[in-house]
């Protein structure tokens, strides 16, 4: 038994027939081929799957695909402007804010939501905001630096 789900992903109208138990992240990865959104845990804690739904960061592993019916979803694939990296992506690159890259999409999507809510976050506020995003490679030092730099660039 499947349900048809229609939504907008990175500005494009898409639809797929999925089982009710299909998670949004599964639909993105398996049905739409958007494999930039990752799955790093099964208890909704690692944040590798963070995407934006109607402008807010959510864990795509903790939302049923059917719940996203009609929603406007943005994934890491939709952040850059063509070949031009978004300032936050550029900041992660310049500040070596990633190593293996697995947590990076979730980190960037989460960081963008932080900056939306708090355009000039302090180091402490960045660290606290990242409670739902785990990284095993960087010791967080350069992620924090990247988000600080990205926020600054976005302030212009």
């Amino acid at each position: 038994m499947t349900v048809s789900v229609s939504l907008t992903v990175n500005g494009e109208a898409v639809s797929a027939d999925v089982e009710p138990r299909t998670l949004l992240v599964q639909m993105l990865r398996e049905e739409l081929g958007l494999t930039g959104t990752h799955v790093g845990c099964d208890t909704s804690q690692c944040g590798a799957c963070v995407v934006h739904v109607d402008g807010e960061s959510v864990k795509a592993c903790t939302l049923l695909a059917v719940q996203a019916e009609g929603a406007d979803v943005k994934t890491i694939e939709g952040v850059a402007d063509g070949d031009t990296l978004h300032p936050m992506q550029q900041a992660f690159h310049e500040n070596h804010g990633l190593q293996c890259g697995f947590c990076t999409p979730g980190m960037i999507m989460s960081a963008l939501d932080l900056v939306k809510n708090n355009p000039d976050p302090s180091e402490r506020e960045i660290r606290e905001w990242l409670e739902g995003n785990l990284c095993r490679c960087t010791g967080y030092h350069n992620i924090v630096k990247s988000i600080d730099a990205g926020a600054r660039a976005m302030r212009g």
Partner: protein, 264 residues
């Protein structure tokens, strides 16, 4: 995840009708606990009834008496609400520290209290402020709502629609988080509540509870020193690899003291 039928309810009555007719149908609010439960195949509902399509359930309003928070209001909305911040700042502060930002963007007050996780934050606010839970059938005082470990006074076809918090004098919440899950190992909400001083503790026991001795001491003298010497018994408190019962009992005193200090 086991498969299930998905129904997006258009109204509270429709949702209540479905879960009333089928014991194995379950309500879905924010899903921050329930979807992980489903993922791990720890639940096998016949039908998942999604409340996210029910209009008008996520409002937040304030009047002279207090604040009313719709059951589907997200934690982030409560944390960011100017009305809540003006009327009961301690409630906004508590909401701003539930889970992580993504949990706060989805999780709801109705879902949280209906689940009644022993380590959840909201039960401390409800009991600490003497709130009232509104359902599709009745109103329930917070003191009567939380009945045990993952147990509430809600009936099978009863759905939380809103929570009303009366205005309070000084109030604050202090949480000592579990280092791994970041749920409360101990969370203490202290308030000069509408009906007197309240001290509500979450995380420490199987269910939120009040500490009468601390309430009396604070009623007599609202200061951190009043509770610094008051302890609770470790008997019956939760134990796990992160905290012994004795440690939890100790933290209740420390967090109570710090909450009073924070409240000013």
């Amino acid at each position: 995840m086991y498969n299930f039928e998905y129904k997006k309810a258009g109204s509270v009555d429709e949702a209540a009708g479905i879960v009333g007719a089928d014991d194995e149908a379950k309500l879905l609010a924010g899903g921050m606990t329930y979807i992980p439960t489903l993922k791990q195949r720890l639940a096998a509902p016949t039908t998942v009834v999604d409340l996210n399509g029910v209009g008008g359930m996520d409002g937040i309003s304030a009047d002279g008496n207090g604040v009313t928070v719709g059951a589907m209001a997200r934690h982030a909305a409560v944390a960011a609400s100017a009305e809540v911040a003006a009327a009961i700042p301690a409630l906004a502060d508590l909401a701003s520290h539930i889970g992580d930002p993504q949990v706060r963007n989805r999780g709801t007050i109705g879902g949280s209290i209906a689940n009644n996780d022993p380590a959840a934050d909201y039960p401390a606010a409800l009991v600490g402020l003497g709130a009232t839970v509104q359902t599709n059938k009745r109103t329930i005082a917070a003191d009567d709502f939380f009945t045990g470990l993952f147990e509430t006074a809600l009936g099978q076809d009863e759905i939380v629609t809103a929570v009303s918090f009366p205005r309070a004098g000084k109030a604050a919440y202090m949480k000592f988080p579990n280092p791994a899950s970041r749920y409360a190992i101990v969370g203490v909400f202290v308030a000069q509540a509408a009906d007197g001083v309240r001290v509500a503790v979450t995380g420490a026991g199987p269910c939120v509870f009040r500490v009468a001795e601390m309430e009396a001491a604070l009623a007599a003298n609202w200061s951190a020193d009043s509770v610094a010497g008051l302890g609770i018994s470790a008997d019956g408190l939760n134990e796990d690899i992160h905290a012994s019962a004795e440690y939890r009992a100790h933290l209740v005193t420390v967090m109570a003291k710090r909450a009073v200090a924070k409240a000013g």
